[in-house]
Symmetry: D2
């Protein structure tokens, strides 16, 4: 039985890790870390766990935690994991960090976009970017995984095969994305009150959202060179879900014609055919967040527009599962040599 | 492996049975019956099942179905199950009927409240009312189970111990209940369109909702005599969930005083202490539908009002799980001698 | 032109006063008081006012304010108005207080239910309870009006004629009410975050909500004696709207029969026939909050249940309009001798 | 008093016309046309009008209607207006058509995108495209106005000044738009049921939505040449609102630099400075649909992304007001020589 510690267990992502691990046959949570609720019963914060989890919340003492568990999930604000981690800890325990601390390989870019100093840049190189379907082999056996962001997981997976196969020009890429409100976290802010969000849609972080360099870096690896893109997130009134609609110019073939439906589909098949959690939808069907809710699936669809020479790629996932806790558990499974889908094969819940 | 057939698989309750059975280690769906979608792929109707269930929808030929499966769930409008069932079928297969056809023991009351003729009253006596926590022993080995309604499951379980223990006067009982919209089914009606339901709350079926006699009959058994109650359902803008707020006058003790917190709690404990799926909340905590969503739990809380001599009992459940598909599977588990919670031990999903 | 000052202009009710006054032909807001946002542009807090209202927020200096305006609306937490008001101010300006400070005539009851000391009990007697349709004559010419709460306006108006006409026994009255989330105000609390409220329904303040004594006092006047009732509010996921479902035993007539549809309807007609803002719905039609949203209307319907001898009365209103700002402006109109509906005759907005 | 007839009065846009006209000081509805509800009281379909409008619904006999009214609003499916209109009618009455019948000047494009034959192409030339802020002068005195679509009004107004001033390359334009559900109409379709739409976001009509050629035609006029764009609508769970996020490459200046904040803002000011209903937001502020709900305003914001050389333009409006009924009334005001904002100066409702 893998012993799991969660730092930040009373945030939405942290509690979702607890929920998923509860149904995992070979792991169990033994440490519910929550600085804000120390000594309070976890189930008094998240009533869904009443009579299911009896434990009280503990602090985020990573030294002590490292003695007691096999893997730590840090579902915490940027900077916390980087500020706590050290060699002694990493020698004892695996860490899956859900914050951005180890996602970007270039520390300058991290410090510029996040506006904080990186406290342990020495581990950036070692850390692997935990986008399971792309970096599976690198994740195996690693002790530090940077779990990708929700927008980025969706944005990257939706475009990856076409970038990799040079079917689209990545510098024309525009990612227009929608998010449910749980992505904003559980902090008590006026802007996230029910009445402020309900019956409204809004863009935010326009041209400066922190997930932008993460998408650029990863798709840049696929492309084999630096790229710049536009990424615009929007908040829409629903609890869960990310929907990314992505636009890019198709690269003409040697004969001057555009790649067709079959070539595009073949590219997706090449990379995703055997991926359990990526479902490439049939022609004419596009992703809807309702079909992936409460699951680890990413649904992807596309449409070629011959009038403009662009392709519209669309992806959907549950931001708390494949966009956070689910992928984190998937990473844990890979790191520990378990079946990658263990504890994650729930059918999406609808309605 | 128990072979399962679903008639009405493309309604919300039918699809939820399919979803729950998918996670059940000892049962599998082999027949997705749906008169409206014959020969269409089930996953083309419910996209959450894409690449998970490959089968096409079949008709509702119960004769043929009885040859192929061990248990049939009928998640269909009133009258359908009663119109199809016969001795030959019942000799071959177990039936769990999610409609009201076999819930009421008095056929006149059925015909009066439902406005249709009962086509097979000869099976009413045999059928057991599948409220698992109350009728567990009777369900074992039965071939025909009448699965309770969503409002009724919540309403009955919330008041049952106090009625049974004669702590409240059941003829003062008023059940005021709220329901999410999935309870209205998937039929294309203007009244259930998004814009008609969203941002609104309304009562309906006032003093004549069909779940009324079902509650009265079952609580009447507990009380040991006929009772009449008020039941008022309301539609509120959310997908899932039933919340029942129930009022009744406490019966004074011999010394003229009212039963207190401890006596009430003792009554709940007496009946529910060992019930996995019933969670009696601590003092001062009341049920919220968010804490039971996507699970088979019923949460119950109460408050004594000494000013008025009444008790307010409150219960919450997920109408598609404990209020329909989950309880149906719980009944299946009991009928087949399996662990009652098999396939049903999911933590409620939040948010 | 009546000059209006609002203290608490950046709460939901305060901003709704500003919105209604903007459309009022004989009044204008000249003071947007908001302790939290002093010197910030009002429209930077409420973007709907961008390019419509240019003023900045001011403090809540009531002395100064009294020099500048004809009427002050205090849309503030309990205690603030009572703490600021004095003779000098009341001699200069009319005050419409949207808090509970002057609603209850018995200061002990106020202090017990609100848990704070009343700072100016000397004005309680003078203050009139501003339920316009009931106390219209008393409101005329008054200098201090206690604007009723949202739940109370709905609860009282729905039952008033039947209590007054002794058709129901008020001590059997149970008020089960639903509220949209704007009733909880704009404070940044975790419990009112979108994801905490959305997709959930919950009771709160069970048997101890502060609107209880307010309902009891007012219906007690109608009845001609003290009464105790049960009142249970619930939070449901929508922005606006109150729906009250009320239960009471009908008082039998001398011949032992129950009052019938016609007698009940006659009672409602007697009091509300000429009331513009109260709409008594035809038989079989019940209130829905969508039909009163963004308007000053109260919709009322009822159903007699002969089986139980009870009547179910139902009322709906918009908590920010008739339940707060709209009724406050209606009170202003009455106090200043204007047409009572001035600025308030908007058709409810749907969808 | 202008006499108004509405054909299609029981759709969402038709009823919104009725609501706005009710508050219009110089117009009144005298004909509530609704083929589906003939002889039923209008307020029995739209309960918000109870005790406000007493009329019954009538048919859509345009000949008769032309005798009785001064202006007809056709809020009907495509093809209906074109099928009914003729010289005799147009000589008697002004028509404001909310369908697409007279929006596109090229009948072939109409027939290709809408898939129906145009029944009266002879009036296409005469009809004016009723985008008030752009075509105001042409609308004056006209007898046939094609009221723009909701997506198109938002999409065009958001980009118009920059296209007109050649600050952006219109062939790089990508319009990614979100809509509330009322845009889908009131027809009873499964896909628009509450549970299907709630808690989900989805793209639809990808690369083939009918509003595409309308945007292309109008922005083509501004540009002075044919353009092709990408337009992707999405459905998000809210009643009202359109949010358009638009991307285009900025055209470099002669010195090779990009236009800056000031130049862009100057272009918006040039066209919109005096427009009451268009609000260009300050730097760093972006449109949110909550701030325009229930009003005729369009809010516009923008952000230059120097990294990619693109500008992100964003616009928001209420699809039933500025996107349908409000603009239709604005057109009526212009046609009849009234103050353009008459009956339309409501502050947006929030929350």
């Amino acid at each position: 039985m893998i012993k799991v510690g969660i730092i930040g267990a009373t945030g939405y992502a942290g509690a979702e890790i607890a929920r998923i691990i509860y149904g995992h046959p070979q792991a169990e949570v033994v440490w519910y870390g929550s600085r804000s609720y120390i000594d309070e019963r976890f189930s008094s914060i998240f009533g869904n766990f009443f009579e299911i989890v009896d434990e009280k919340c503990l602090d985020d003492n990573m030294e002590e935690l490292a003695e007691k568990v096999d893997v730590i999930f840090t579902a915490t604000p940027q900077g916390l994991c980087a500020g706590l981690v050290n060699d002694e800890i990493l020698n004892k325990v695996k860490i899956i960090d859900l914050s951005a601390d180890f996602r970007l390989k270039n520390v300058d870019i991290y410090e510029k976009w996040y506006g904080i100093e990186h406290k342990s840049p020495q581990y950036i190189k070692e850390a692997v970017y935990g986008l399971c379907e792309i970096n599976r082999e690198d994740i195996k056996g690693k002790r530090l995984v940077a779990n990708p962001g929700c927008y980025t997981t969706c944005s990257i997976l939706t475009a990856y095969p076409l970038v990799k196969e040079k079917l689209i020009d990545p510098n024309t890429l525009i990612v227009d994305a929608l998010s449910g409100v749980s992505g904003a976290g559980r902090g008590a802010k006026t802007v996230n009150l029910y009445c402020e969000v309900n019956e409204s849609a809004k863009p935010y972080g326009v041209a400066n959202h922190r997930h932008t360099p993460e998408i650029e870096e990863q798709l840049g690896y696929a492309f084999g060179g630096n790229i710049v893109i536009n990424f615009t997130p929007h908040l829409v009134p629903m609890n869960r879900g990310i929907l990314a609609t992505e636009y890019a110019s198709l690269i003409k073939k040697e004969d001057g014609s555009l790649p067709g439906e079959e070539e595009i589909r073949a590219a997706y098949e090449k990379y995703y055919k055997d991926e359990k959690f990526i479902r490439v939808l049939p022609k004419g069907t596009y992703p809807e967040t309702r079909w992936v809710e409460n699951s680890n699936y990413v649904d992807i669809g596309f449409k070629i527009d011959e009038r403009t020479g662009r392709i519209i790629m669309m992806g959907a996932l549950d931001n708390l599962v494949k966009g956070a806790a689910g992928q984190a558990v998937q990473n844990m499974n890979i790191m520990f040599g378990l079946d990658e889908a263990m504890g994650l094969d729930m059918v999406p819940a609808f309605p």
